[in-house]
C-alpha cells in the first residue's frame, strides 16, 4: 500500500487539529498510510512570502521537499496553500535548472539538496483517485440529508498548467466526492468566488464583503452546508459567518465541512471523532 509523507503546514496543527485526525483516519480506511514529516517547517506561504523574497520562499520549500525525498515518498497536503507552494516549487525546481542551482546552493549550507524525485498531491486528489466504486462500497451512513455547496477555493486549482488538479473554471472534483457519499451537490453562481480570507490582513473590510457576497448567494440556493478542501477557507466560513452576520445584521449559519470530515461521517466515524464539536458554526443536521 502506498505511504505518503503528510505535510501539515501551520494552520491545521495550530488551530484545526481535528482535520489532521480525521484525514489520517479516512485515508487509513482505504489502506493509505501517512507518516509525519519530522522537522518540516512552514511551506512557506504561497502569496506573501513568495512576493517578498522569492529565493528564500523557494529555498524553504525546497528544504521541505527534500525531507520527503529522503524517505522516497510523495507528499500529501491537507491545505491548499501548502499544496500550491510545494507543487509550484517542485515544478520550478524540477524544470528550471538555474533556480534549482540557486536553491541547492542555499541548501548545501545545511547539508541538504533537492533532487526532484517526488510528487506533491492534495488530499482531494487522493480521494478522487480512490474512485467512486471503492468509496461507495465503504459508505456506511449515506449523507442523504445534505445539500452541499462546494467551495473549491483558489490555490487548489490555479495555475492549472502546473497543478493539473481540475478544470480551473469548471471544477467538479469536490462535487463528485459529495455525490459518492450520498449527498447532493448544489451548483451556484458564485462558486468560483474567493472566500476573502486572502486579503484579511490587508483589507479586513473587503474580506468580509467578499464573504458576504458568497454567503448571500448561497442563501438563495437550496444548499444547507458548505464543503471546502482548504483549512483557510474552512476557518473563513466557519468563523467568518458569525462576523458577517453581526456586522451586516444578517443571519448565516451554514455548517461547514472540510472534505475529509464529510467522508469521515459517511464512513461511520462518530461526530466526536470527526471533530464536529470543535466547529464554531454548529453542525445541527448530523
Amino acid at each position: 500500500m502506498k505511504e505518503y509523507a503528510l505535510f501539515l503546514g501551520c494552520l491545521i496543527p495550530a488551530r484545526l487539529p481535528h482535520i489532521e485526525a480525521i484525514s489520517i483516519k479516512v485515508l487509513d480506511k482505504f489502506g493509505i498510510k501517512t507518516k509525519d514529516m519530522i522537522d518540516a517547517s512552514c511551506c512557506p506561504d504561497p502569496v506573501v512570502m513568495k512576493s517578498l523574497d522569492f529565493n528564500s520562499w523557494l529555498a524553504i520549500a525546497a528544504r521541505n521537499l527534500s525531507l520527503a525525498e529522503e524517505t522516497e515518498s510523495d507528499i500529501v497536503t491537507l491545505c491548499s496553500g501548502c499544496f500550491s507552494t510545494l507543487s509550484k516549487a517542485n515544478h520550478l525546481l524540477k524544470y528550471n535548472a538555474e533556480l534549482k542551482g540557486e536553491a541547492n546552493k542555499l541548501l548545501s549550507e545545511i547539508n541538504r539538496g533537492f533532487s526532484g524525485k517526488i510528487n506533491v498531491k492534495h488530499v482531494v486528489e487522493i480521494i478522487r483517485d480512490i474512485g467512486k466504486e471503492t468509496i461507495e462500497r465503504q459508505v456506511k451512513k449515506p449523507l442523504k440529508q445534505l445539500k452541499v455547496a462546494s467551495h473549491p477555493g483558489c490555490h487548489l486549482l490555479r495555475p492549472s498548467s502546473i497543478l493539473h488538479v481540475d478544470d480551473p473554471n469548471v471544477p467538479t472534483i469536490q462535487d463528485e466526492i459529495v455525490s459518492w457519499v450520498g449527498a447532493e451537490p448544489v451548483n451556484y453562481a458564485l462558486k468560483m468566488l474567493c472566500c476573502g480570507v486572502g486579503i484579511k490582513m490587508v483589507d479586513p473590510e473587503a474580506n468580509l464583503l467578499l464573504l458576504r457576497e458568497k454567503l448571500a448567494n448561497l442563501k438563495e440556493t437550496e444548499a444547507n452546508c458548505i464543503v471546502t478542501p482548504c483549512p483557510f477557507c474552512f476557518m473563513q466560513f466557519d468563523m467568518g459567518q458569525k462576523e458577517v452576520s453581526r456586522k451586516f445584521g444578517e443571519s448565516y449559519t451554514f455548517p461547514v465541512f472540510y472534505i475529509t470530515e464529510l467522508l469521515g461521517l459517511a464512513l461511520g466515524f462518530s461526530p466526536e471523532e470527526v471533530g464536529l464539536h470543535l466547529h464554531t458554526t454548529p453542525v445541527m443536521e448530523v
Partner: protein, 593 residues
C-alpha cells in the same frame, strides 16, 4: 542573350532605399567588398534603385560596361524582382541573369530580422558574394509556349466566390463554381442585415447568386469538393467529388411538401444551432439552387432503413435514394480560392461559459435569431426560456486580439456588434438595455464612424473593459458579467439576460488541407497567404492561383468584393492572350505528374 563560353560580366547595384538600408549598414564597405569579387566589373550605389533614375543607371551601366549579369542588393524579391528583370530584358539580359537580394531586412527599422550595423554588414557581404557566385554559374532556363484553357475554377460559393465567378463569366470565361454545401451564398446569406446601410443581406446577395445559377458560362457544382489538383497555370487538372443530393435537381420544384412530411429533425447548420431543420430541407428561402437536399446523417432511411416518406409524397418524383458520389475531371487555366471563414468557437474561452450557460450565444447566432427568416422568425428569444431579454450585454474581441488564441484584430466584430445593437433598438426590442464591453471601437470605413455615433445616440452603453468572468444563476439562468471599467477604474458587475460574444473570424475548416493540395502558402493564423502583403494582395506563390475574401484574412463585404474583382482581373490578365510562356521544366513536370 549570352553564349555559354562568354565572359561573365557582373554588375552589382547597391540600394540605399532612402535610409532604410543606408541607415543600418556601411554602403561604402559593401561597395568595396563587391568590387573585388570575381566576375564583378561594375558596382554602383543608388538612393532608390527601383525609381526611374535607378533603373536608368542599370540600363546605362549594362550598355557602357557590357554587363551580362545584374545583381541588385535591395529589398524582398517578392516586391521588385519582376521590375528589375524587366529592366534587364530591355537591354538584352535574360530574366534568369537578373537577381534581386534582400539586404534590407537586416537594416530596416521595425523589421523582425533587424540586426546591428556590424552584423548587417557581415550578412550583406556574404549574401552578395554568394549571389555573384551563383549568377555566374546559372544557365538560361528554356521557356516554351503553352496554350491556356479559357476556363477558371472558383472554390467557394460565398459572396467573394460568386462575385469573381460573375466577373469572369461576363468576360467570356467558362467558370466552374464549386461549393461544399448544398447552396451558394455562404456566410453573407445568414447575416440578416449588413452594415453600414442596414440592407437586408439576402436581398442584395440573392440577385447575384441567382444570376450565377443562370449564367450560361457558369457551371455550379454544389455539394462538391476539390479532391486533387495537378498541372500549372494555363492548364490545371482538377478532380472534384460531387456528393449526392438524393434529390434530382432537374425534377425538384421546391414545393416543400417533402420537408413538411419528413419526420426526422436535426439542428440546423443554417441557424447556427439556434433552430432545427428536417432531414430533407431547403437551407433557406434564397438558397441557390433552390432545391431540396437530404442530409443522410439525419435521415431515417439512411440511418435505419425505414421511412422514404418524402419519396412517397413528392409530386415530381424527384427523390432519388440511389444517387452515388460522382467524380468529375476539370481542366482550367486558373484557380480562385474563396473558401471564406468560420466563426471562432468560444467554448475554449471558459470564463465566458459558452456551451455551459445556455444564454451565452455568439453574434452569428444572434443574427439568426434576429432574422425574420430565422428559427424564431425575427423574435429575439433567449435560449433558456424563450423569453425576450431585457438586458443584453455584448463582449468584443472574443478569440481575437488575445495572445492565448488569435493575436490579430478580426476587423468586423465592432461593426457587426453595432449593427445588431441597432437592429434590436430599431426593430426588435427598443426598450432593451444594451451594453457593449470593448477594448477599442475600430470603425475605419466609409460611413462606419457615423454608424457608431448613431448607435450611441440610440442609448447603447459602451464600457471600456474586457469582462473577466460570466457567471450563471443555475436557477434563473440569468447572468452576471464582471468587468473593470478602465475609464472609471472601477469594477462593475452587470446583470444580463443574454450575453453575446463577438467572436473572431477564423479560416474555414479544411483551408490548410486545400492549401496543401494547391501548394499555396498559409500565414501564421492559418489564412491563405498573398504573394506580397502590399503589392500582390490576391496573388499567391503559385502562378495562376489567386485568393480573395475572408480566406485571405478577416474583412467585410465590400473588401471581399474588391478582392474578388481583383482576383478575377488577375486571372483574366493571365489567360487573356490564350497562350503563355512557361519554363520548360514546369511544363514537363506538369505532363508527367
Amino acid at each position: 542573350m549570352s553564349k555559354n563560353k562568354e565572359e561573365k560580366r557582373v554588375g552589382v547595384f547597391i540600394c540605399h532605399c532612402g535610409k532604410n538600408i543606408a541607415g543600418g549598414v556601411d554602403i561604402n564597405a559593401l561597395l568595396e567588398h563587391a568590387k573585388q569579387l570575381e566576375g564583378v566589373v561594375f558596382v554602383a550605389e543608388n538612393r532608390f534603385t527601383c525609381s526611374d533614375e535607378g533603373q536608368t543607371t542599370i540600363r546605362d551601366a549594362v550598355k557602357k560596361h557590357n554587363l551580362n549579369r545584374i545583381v541588385v542588393a535591395a529589398c524582398d524579391p517578392a516586391l521588385h524582382l519582376a521590375t528589375f528583370q524587366r529592366v534587364g530584358e530591355e537591354v538584352g539580359i535574360d530574366p534568369a541573369f537578373t537577381e534581386l537580394i534582400d539586404i534590407r531586412k537586416w537594416t530596416m527599422p521595425g523589421s523582425p530580422q533587424k540586426v546591428d550595423q556590424e552584423q548587417a554588414l557581415e550578412n550583406s557581404k556574404k549574401l552578395i558574394q554568394q549571389t555573384v557566385k551563383r549568377i555566374r554559374l546559372k544557365r538560361v532556363i528554356p521557356t516554351v509556349e503553352v496554350k491556356v484553357e479559357p476556363s477558371v475554377l472558383v472554390i467557394g460559393g460565398g459572396i467573394a466566390g460568386v462575385e469573381a465567378s460573375l466577373d469572369l463569366a461576363d468576360k467570356g470565361y467558362k467558370v466552374f463554381l464549386i461549393e461544399l454545401l448544398p447552396t451558394i451564398g455562404g456566410k453573407m446569406a445568414l447575416l440578416y442585415k449588413v452594415f453600414p446601410t442596414n440592407d437586408c443581406a439576402p436581398c442584395i446577395l440573392a440577385p447575384k447568386t441567382a444570376y450565377a445559377n443562370l449564367h450560361p458560362n457558369i457551371t455550379l457544382l454544389t455539394n462538391s469538393e476539390v479532391m486533387d489538383v495537378k498541372g500549372h497555370v494555363g492548364n490545371f487538372q482538377v478532380k472534384v467529388l460531387k456528393h449526392p443530393r438524393y434529390v434530382d435537381e432537374k425534377k425538384c420544384n421546391a414545393d416543400g411538401i417533402c420537408v413538411e412530411k419528413c419526420p426526422a429533425k436535426a439542428p440546423s447548420e443554417y441557424s447556427m444551432g439556434m433552430g432545427e431543420r428536417k432531414a430533407i430541407y431547403i437551407p433557406f428561402p434564397q438558397a441557390i439552387p433552390h432545391k431540396a437536399v437530404i442530409a443522410p446523417e439525419s435521415c431515417l432511411y439512411f440511418q435505419k432503413g425505414v421511412c422514404r416518406v418524402c419519396e412517397k409524397f413528392c409530386p415530381t418524383g424527384a427523390i432519388n435514394f440511389e444517387q452515388k458520389p460522382e467524380t468529375l475531371e476539370l481542366k482550367v487555366g486558373a484557380i480562385i480560392v474563396a473558401t471564406g471563414f468560420e466563426e471562432y468557437n468560444p467554448s475554449e474561452k471558459k470564463e465566458y461559459g459558452y456551451g455551459r450557460f445556455s444564454n451565452v450565444i455568439t453574434q452569428f447566432q444572434l443574427a439568426r435569431l434576429l432574422d425574420i427568416d430565422g428559427p424564431t422568425k425575427g423574435k429575439l428569444l433567449r435560449p433558456s426560456d424563450r423569453k425576450e431579454p431585457e438586458n443584453i450585454l455584448m463582449i468584443q474581441c472574443v478569440g481575437s486580439r488575445d495572445e492565448k488564441f488569435n493575436v490579430y484584430c478580426s476587423a468586423v466584430c465592432c461593426m457587426y456588434a453595432l449593427k445588431h445593437a441597432q437592429i434590436i433598438k430599431h426593430m426588435v426590442l427598443p426598450d432593451a438595455e444594451i451594453t457593449i464591453c470593448y477594448l477599442d471601437m475600430r470603425t475605419p470605413g466609409k460611413g462606419f464612424e457615423e454608424y457608431y455615433t448613431h448607435t450611441r445616440d440610440l442609448g447603447v452603453v459602451f464600457i471600456h473593459g474586457k469582462p473577466n468572468e460570466v457567471r450563471e444563476d443555475p436557477k434563473t439562468k440569468n447572468l452576471k458579467v464582471a468587468v473593470e471599467d478602465t475609464f472609471l477604474g472601477e469594477s462593475i458587475v452587470f446583470d444580463a439576460d443574454l450575453v453575446v460574444l463577438s467572436c473572431a473570424m477564423v479560416p474555414a475548416e479544411g483551408t490548410r488541407k486545400l492549401a496543401e493540395m494547391l501548394r499555396i502558402e498559409v500565414d501564421e493564423s492559418g489564412f491563405l497567404k498573398e504573394a506580397h502583403p502590399k503589392l500582390r494582395p490576391v496573388e499567391t506563390n503559385v502562378r495562376g492561383i489567386y485568393i480573395c475574401g475572408c480566406a485571405q484574412g478577416p474583412k467585410d463585404i465590400p473588401d471581399a468584393i474588391v478582392q474578388a474583382k481583383a482576383a478575377a482581373s488577375c486571372a483574366d490578365s493571365e489567360l487573356r492572350k490564350g497562350k503563355i510562356m512557361l519554363p520548360e521544366f514546369i511544363v514537363k513536370a506538369g505532363k508527367t505528374s
